[in-house]
């Protein structure tokens, strides 16, 4: 780990906050995507029965 000097807290917190936000965005997007795929499969199945 590089010597961050007296601003270590600032740098780490900046990186931590940013990466956390990106991870949150990624996670939420992926979860929403998965749910949509599952529901679409169900809807297509129902449509096939009625078709």
């Amino acid at each position: 780990m590089p010597d961050l000097g007296k601003y270590a807290v600032e740098v780490v917190s900046a990186y931590g906050a940013s990466l956390l936000l990106l991870a949150l965005l990624l996670g939420l997007s992926l979860r929403r995507g998965q749910r949509a795929r599952a529901e679409l499969a169900k809807a297509e199945a129902e449509a096939a029965d009625h078709g």
């Binding site: 000097g5 007296k6 601003y7 995507g33």
Partner: protein
């Protein structure tokens, strides 16, 4: 086969599934190398000390925050002129990503400035205009959620995006006028091109920017796919109800 053929949502979905693996891996590689290189292998700045390392997050995020809105402006125009659903849904998909990029830019900017300015938040023109951009993103996303009919929602949000862009630029100059500003010179002024950042910092910064750009593209592509799937579910359900 003009590019507009990809405006067909089903075809766009197929394309996005094929392209995404490459996009995600490229984004990951660029981000990893850029951030690790910048974080570990670059010297401290004699004045700012190690806080200069925050540049690798602040500048790319700020750049993407503005480009995201610009992309939404373009897609909104495409929706209004050519009524392609994919572009309206791409704008809707890009908004949250732009919002997060703005948030990152705000947080890293505030943290980075804190040692010099002595306060956690300084009403500096550039940071403040990002705060205003944040409000625009919030309003845009809220309007999408508030309207039931997807087509009307796409229309109204597109017009809001156009009008919002004009006012964002107006606010940018109003805020500049309102407070002379403490922000350091632009690292890579697009207009003058003269780099105020020495080479050793510049290369990792460039890689980070490309990384953030690729991440943005991958995320928006993925989220647009989700929006298309949700619209397809809605259309299938509506058609089934009609035939019952």
């Amino acid at each position: 086969m003009s590019i507009w053929s990809y405006a067909n949502p089903v075809k766009f979905l197929a394309l996005s599934i094929r392209v995404q693996p490459f996009l995600w891996t490229a984004a990951l590689i660029c981000l990893a190398t850029g951030l690790i290189w910048g974080f570990f292998a670059t010297p401290d700045d004699f004045r700012q000390g190690s806080t200069v390392k925050i540049i690798y997050l602040h500048v790319p995020a700020a750049l993407m925050a503005i480009n995201a809105w610009f992309m939404m402006l373009i897609t909104s125009l495409i929706w209004l002129v050519r009524r392609h659903h994919v572009s309206a849904l791409a704008a809707k998909a890009a908004a949250p990503v732009g919002l997060v990029m703005t948030l990152i830019a705000l947080i890293t900017g505030a943290i980075w400035g804190q040692p010099m300015w002595g306060t956690w938040w300084e009403w500096d023109p550039r940071l403040t205009s990002f705060l205003i951009l944040f409000l625009f993103y919030l309003g845009y996303m809220a309007l999408w959620e508030a309207i039931e009919d997807p087509d009307t929602a796409a229309d109204l949000t597109s017009v809001l995006c156009l009008v919002g862009s004009v006012f964002a630029v107006l606010s940018r100059y109003a805020v500049q006028f309102w407070n002379q500003g403490l922000h350091q010179g632009t690292s890579i002024p697009v207009t003058t091109g003269a780099r105020t950042v020495s080479d050793v910092f510049f290369v990792p910064l460039l890689i980070c920017m490309i990384g953030f750009g690729l991440l943005f593209a991958a995320l928006v592509l993925y989220r647009t796919g989700t929006e298309i799937r949700l619209r397809r579910i809605r259309a299938l359900r509506a058609r089934m109800e009609r035939t019952l």
